[in-house]
């Protein structure tokens, strides 16, 4: 078992703590000024305005309207993660077993959307899903429906569009986990009598679990705070927490209450991250110790 080197290495040379700090300083400074400081201000306001106490938090957690938004956010994020996993796994598997042009094309298919604006991809879904959109036209021409179906502004549409937008964040960790499974493992399993399904269940799935966990965590957390796609595709009935926060800030100017909502979301995300970090570590430990 190799021990982890104590500090970062570059060209075989160890950095002193001062040098490490100096290299990270620009980013840390940026983080502090544009992220931590405003966040701290917001959270401070949520606890001390109008009066010191947890008034704002109690309001958010007791009012059914806001609770519904939070539960909907969790539910949508869950289904987005599930759908993204189902779509991404086979794709990542094919990519991990491809080389050359095939891999380049598949990689481009995954990465190009990532480099395109979320707004563009969301509008594309609106074009597809609207009353006179492509999907309704096709369904009508096939004679499957008499009048245009309501596709846009439904929870299903939100889940579908978000899963698509967030797909690369699932594909990439899965791809690297699957790429790390040598071809000889599934081969050995088959020689030992495992059917293709048993090979997947007993060997490939357990070995790619770290990738599954980090992909799901990434997509779930991004989905929780997602703004553009649910705001445009979901409309007011499918409001998620990010939209609610934005509404509080921009329309009602209720900064302290928005701060409380952000605080709740943040706490939830932190807890979830900690739990899953443990799970990921545990996996690695069981796998390699």
């Amino acid at each position: 078992m190799s021990r982890r080197p104590p500090r970062f290495l570059l060209g075989g040379r160890r950095f002193s703590p001062a040098a490490s700090l100096a290299l990270a300083a620009p980013f840390l400074l940026l983080l502090a000024v544009v992220f931590l400081l405003p966040l701290a201000t917001l959270l401070h306001e949520s606890l001390f305005v109008p009066a010191p106490g947890v008034e704002n938090y109690a309001h958010a957690l007791q009012e059914p309207v806001y609770l519904r938004v939070m539960l909907r956010t969790l539910r949508i994020a869950f289904f987005v993660t599930l759908l993204a996993l189902l779509l991404a796994w086979p794709l990542a598997w094919v990519m991990s077993r491809s080389r050359g042009l095939g891999l380049a094309l598949l990689g481009a298919a995954v990465l190009l959307p990532l480099w395109t604006s979320v707004l563009v991809r969301t509008y594309a879904w609106m074009v597809l899903l609207q009353r006179n959109g492509v999907i309704n036209q096709i369904l009508a021409q096939l004679g499957l429906i008499d009048q245009p179906a309501r596709l846009l502004y439904t929870e299903g549409a939100v889940v579908l569009a978000m899963a698509h937008v967030l797909l690369p964040f699932m594909v990439l960790p899965l791809y690297s986990a699957l790429k790390g499974i040598p071809e000889d493992y599934p081969r050995a399993a088959q020689m030992l009598g495992a059917s293709p399904w048993a090979t997947f269940r007993e060997v490939i799935w357990p070995l790619c679990l770290p990738g599954v966990t980090s992909g799901c965590l990434m997509v779930f957390l991004l989905a929780l705070g997602f703004f553009v796609t649910p705001a445009l595709i979901g409309g007011p009935q499918q409001m998620m927490i990010a939209t609610l926060v934005s509404q509080q800030v921009r329309e009602l100017l209720d900064w302290p209450f928005a701060g409380a909502l952000v605080g709740i979301l943040l706490a939830f995300v932190l807890v979830l991250t900690l739990i899953f970090r443990r799970a990921v570590r545990l996996d690695r430990f069981v796998g390699q110790a």
Binding site: M1, P182, D184, Y185, R187, A188, A189, Q190, M191, L192, G193, A194, S195, P196, A198, T199, E202, V203, P206, L207, V286, G287, Q288, A289
Partner: protein
């Protein structure tokens, strides 16, 4: 008794006219091979000779373009790997990293629906066979390379397959451990009487371990025989050069000869020497003589032979190797065993070379 006979032939493999093309390259080009039950057969050849492709076709990971493969008389050419009931040990370590050593060995039994208690018992027994009974609870990464391959062997034999396929299983180990494992695998094979098909590019490994060796080159079977046959009586120039050390000397046949017959050869650079034809030789046809360094003799002065000059003498303890130059700038190696009291010329000496006609094999060169 009849069942016993059936069990015995069950481990035989017949390969008939196997052809496998990758694009325009013939990886395997019409190979037929009979592997007897209980035999240790090595597939030996340089990289690209087709040996691994043949093994993969037996395993079921490659389907041939032509030909068939029979296991115990049953056609398995198109059967998926998991239904062939063969054992296989791979070149790289393939123990599943998320299972303990014992779980790894019990895996094939689990796949066969065998209950937990029997699984564990048989896995323990297999672990004892490879002398690692204490290691069952460890994770594969905690074992050395040699131990991992022994566990891989235990995992491949625990379900008592009729045939064990081995794809250069020792190539990742260092030299001493490799030699130790060669003998251990050989002993294990005798003990359990399993048919072994062993792929290697290392001729010493093939000669040490195998009952018979199939030498392959460019997808074709060059020769199939016992190690001694291959070394003493190579049938092609490739086999003569690939197995052991060989000096080649070109010349012209003085008369026509059939394989096995003596033939006089006029060496390029001068001199008429006796040899044995290894392939049909035409009168006046070009031939290549294959001469083993340890079969070359230094003749006493005055006897008829080929004159040569010693350019270098290399002492290596158990033998001394002479580098020689004969007329026509032909270079040769000659080995003098230590302890036999033979004279050892020094660099710069002039000597007369000779050999027994049976030790010089003449291969006809395609014009």
């Amino acid at each position: 008794m009849r069942k016993l006979e059936a069990d015995r032939s069950a481990g035989s493999i017949t390969i008939e006219g196997l052809v496998k093309r990758f694009g325009t390259v013939h990886a395997v080009d019409g190979v037929s091979l009979d592997i007897r039950a209980g035999e240790f057969l090595a597939l030996l050849g340089p990289s690209g000779s087709g040996k691994t492709t043949i093994l993969m076709a037996i395993a079921g990971f490659e389907y041939p373009d032509e030909g068939r493969i029979l296991l115990g008389g049953e056609d398995i050419t198109w059967l998926p790997p998991n239904r062939r009931n063969l054992g296989m040990v791979f070149q790289r370590y393939t123990l599943f990293p998320h299972m303990s050593v014992l779980e790894n060995i019990a895996f094939p039994l689990k796949m066969r629906g065998i209950g937990r208690a029997e699984r564990e018992e048989r896995a323990h027994a297999a672990l004892r066979t490879v002398r690692l009974e204490q290691m069952g609870g460890r994770q594969p990464a905690q074992l050395s390379g040699g131990q991992q391959q022994r566990v891989a062997i235990a995992r491949a034999i625990v379900y008592r397959p009729r045939v064990l396929l081995m794809d250069e299983p020792l190539s990742a180990l260092d030299k001493n451990l490799r030699e130790e494992m060669q003998i251990e695998i050989k002993h294990l094979q005798r003990e359990i009487g399993i048919t072994v098909v062993f792929v290697t590019h290392d001729q010493t490994e093939a000669l040490t371990m195998a009952d018979r060796v199939a030498v392959l080159d460019h997808g074709r079977l060059q020769q199939l025989g016992a190690p001694r046959e291959l070394y003493e009586a190579p049938q092609t120039e490739f086999v003569a050069g690939f197995i052991g050390e060989t000096n080649f000397w070109s010349g012209t046949a003085a008369a026509a000869a059939a394989p096995g017959q003596p033939v006089g050869v006029r060496l390029d650079g001068g001199g008429l020497m006796e040899a044995t034809a290894a392939s049909p030789v035409a009168a006046g046809g070009r031939v290549r003589l294959a001469l083993r360094p340890e079969r070359l003799r230094i003749l006493p002065a005055g006897e008829g032979g080929v004159p040569a000059r010693v350019t270098e003498a290399i002492y290596a303890g158990n033998a001394t190797t002479l580098m020689l130059e004969a007329s026509g700038s032909q270079t040769l190696r000659l080995r003098i065993p230590a302890g036999a009291g033979l004279p050892e010329p020094a660099a710069g000496d002039s000597v007369t070379l000779g050999w027994h006609a049976g030790d010089a094999r003449a291969f006809a060169v395609a014009p």
